[in-house]
Structure formats: C-alpha cells, structure tokens
Symmetry: C2
Subunit: 208 residues, 2 copies
C-alpha cells in the first residue's frame, strides 16, 4: 500500500460472520484497509466479541439506552466519527439508520444484502425469494440511502440454485458469497475505484 | 425419443431470434419436440418468414382485423389449438394475452423475459435495469399467468455485467442467454421434468 491506512468502521447486529470475513481477508492487509472500530445496536452481538478478540475498539448503542432513534444514532455517529474512518460498513446491521446519521457520512456507508436488489429488499430476503420461487439468488453490496436497501448498487453476484426449497439450501452458499463480495467492495472503494456517475447518480462506476 | 412428438406453438412479434434458436436446437431433434405452428400479432414479423423458410404453418392475428382483443385471442387460440400443441411458447410476443386465451392452455404457456424476475417486469426490462444501476442482469423463463411477467418461474440464468452502461452492452449477451434458456426450458417440459409444487403453486419443481 501507499499512503495512510483506509480506516473503516463496521456495524453489526448478529453473529458477525461478515465482520470476520473482513478481518480475515482485508484488515491490516496489503491494501491498507484497517478496521478501526466495531459497533452494534445489540450489546450481546457476537460480532463485538470477534472484534475484541483481535483488540479492536467496540461499543454498543442499544435503543433502550437513548431517548429515541435520533439520539441513539447521534451517539453512534459521534463514536464512529471519533475513530476517524472513511467508510462505514453495515455487515448484518439490522437497525435502520436515521437520515442524520446518513448525512454524517455522505456516500460513505455501504451495506450487504442477501438478494439481487431491487428484488427482495428488507427482512428475510431469502424467505421472500423462496416464496416467489426464484431460481437465481444473490448478494448485493450498495451505498446506503434513506430507503430500505434502495441505494446505488456497487457489486452484485448471482447464485443459481434451481432446486433450492428451504432457507438452509440457500443461506450457506449465500453467506459464502457475502464473505467474498463485501470485502471486494471495500477493497475497490479503498483504492478509489468506485465513483458515482455524475450523469446518473444511481449508476456506480467501477474502474476495471 | 419415445412416444408421440411434443408439439409446440411459438408466438412472436418481432425478429424471431428466439424462434430461430428453437428451430436450430430443438425442432425435430432427438427430444421429440416439434414446432407445429408459428403465429404473430404482426403480419410483417420476421419470425413468420423464419417459420415459412422451414415449411411451418404460420398465421397472423393483428388486432385491427378483429373487433377487440378478446375476439383476436379467441381466433388465435382456435388456430393454435387446431395444430394440436401441448405447449405455447411466447418468444418475443409483445401483446398481452387475454384470460380466456390463458384458460385454453392451462399451465401450458411459457414466456422468456430479459430480466431476473420479479425485478424489471414489463417493457424495456434492460433499460429499467440499467436505470436502476444493477450489476447483474439475466433471463427468466416462466409460466404465463394473468399478470405481467408474474407467473411461476421455471428457469433463470444470471449475467454479471458490472461495467454495462448501454442497452447494446447488455442485449447481445442477454440474447445469447435467452437462446439457450428458452430451449432448455422447453426440453425439460417436453420430458415431463417440470411440475408445480402442489404445496406451493408458485414454486416450480425441476427434476434434476
């Protein structure tokens, strides 16, 4: 790498397997990406343990500790910004971020979603896809805007599973795709290869 | 093959490249699929010429020749049924079929659509997908129901084109996928490998 490290924060609500993939494949690697802070809305998220295990600063911001979502997100934004990060990565972060949070990190928040957006936004994307009877599943990494999984798409990868019938048939393989695609997107952003098309801000340009 | 030929009708409105793919890869081949009739809503559809070139019966049913859509579709259904077909294949057929037509061929009409449904149904699917900024395009073959591209999905195939910016960037490769996927679906149906899940009629079961 050349230049300063590309510091990122990771927000997660659950097991933290996407965080682990980032730690295993990107953190302090040759691309200069450093996970500088990990936060959660759930104090007992396993993701926090994974971060602590490698000595990273962590914090949790449960809604119950704050007057409302805006106050919670303001505290979260202050804590994240205090770690001097250039990108906020939602890796299984299940709380919706308030507009004020989004404005603190313009075009610098990304999310990973287990469907080929715009199909199946929101909760239980795999369940939605199975109920619809699709034969191709997939993963999307996108910038976060004020909608639910509606922001500009950075990377997508498809997974053809024509015989899948249950979530279990899909989730294992889909998680493996997430664990590649999210670090790949962060890597591209860190080296400046991801820009919004000025002529069309929905379209994300990737340097080949 | 064993048994009687599996006779199909193809409806097309345009150039007929999907019809040509069926003629080239399936018609009178070892799977026993026979294109028995080709019809169009457009008398000048190039698809009709392609069919005539190999000696197939053709007919056109322009709306202007009939009192209304219901009457047009009744005439079309009579003509198609008169060729004793077991499957009606929409291969770039741009007119919506009336419910009465659908009821004449229950669970025996399939369509090919240039997107990964349920994303981007209807007209100009590729333009819609480009405007949304997706990185994965694709093709769906589905049973036709009364909605617009909403019927149970038989086969889907994805096409990752992360740098695509224009329809031209997408359409050539997508057409090549259509030309494989539509014959593949017809082949599966002809050998009885496609059934609706009795527990969930949205889910199409494919014999491996």
């Amino acid at each position: 790498m050349s230049g300063a490290p590309f510091r990122i924060a990771v927000l997660a609500s659950g097991a933290g397997s996407n965080l682990q993939a980032i730690l295993d494949t990107l953190h302090e690697g040759p691309e200069g990406v450093v996970v500088a802070a990990v936060a959660s809305d759930k104090p007992d998220a396993r993701a926090l343990e994974r971060a602590q295990a490698v000595g990273l600063p962590t914090a949790s911001f449960p809604l119950a500790d704050h007057p409302d979502r805006a106050a919670r997100d303001a505290a979260l934004a202050d804590w994240v910004a205090g770690h001097d990060v250039r990108l906020v990565v939602l890796a299984g972060y299940m709380a919706l971020l308030t507009p004020a949070f989004l404005q603190r990190f313009p075009q610098a928040i990304v999310n990973v979603h287990p469907a080929l957006l715009p199909a199946f936004p929101g909760l239980d994307a795999v369940g939605q896809a199975l109920a619809h009877g699709v034969k191709v599943f997939g993963v999307t990494v996108h910038f976060v805007d004020e909608g639910v999984d509606t922001g500009p798409i950075i990377l997508q990868r498809a997974l053809e599973l024509p015989h899948a019938r249950t979530r279990e048939d899909v989730l294992g393989e889909l998680h493996a795709v997430e664990h590649e695609l999210l670090p790949a997107a962060i890597r591209l952003i860190a080296r400046g290869a991801v820009t919004l098309d000025p002529a069309d801000p929905r379209r994300v340009r990737l340097e080949p």
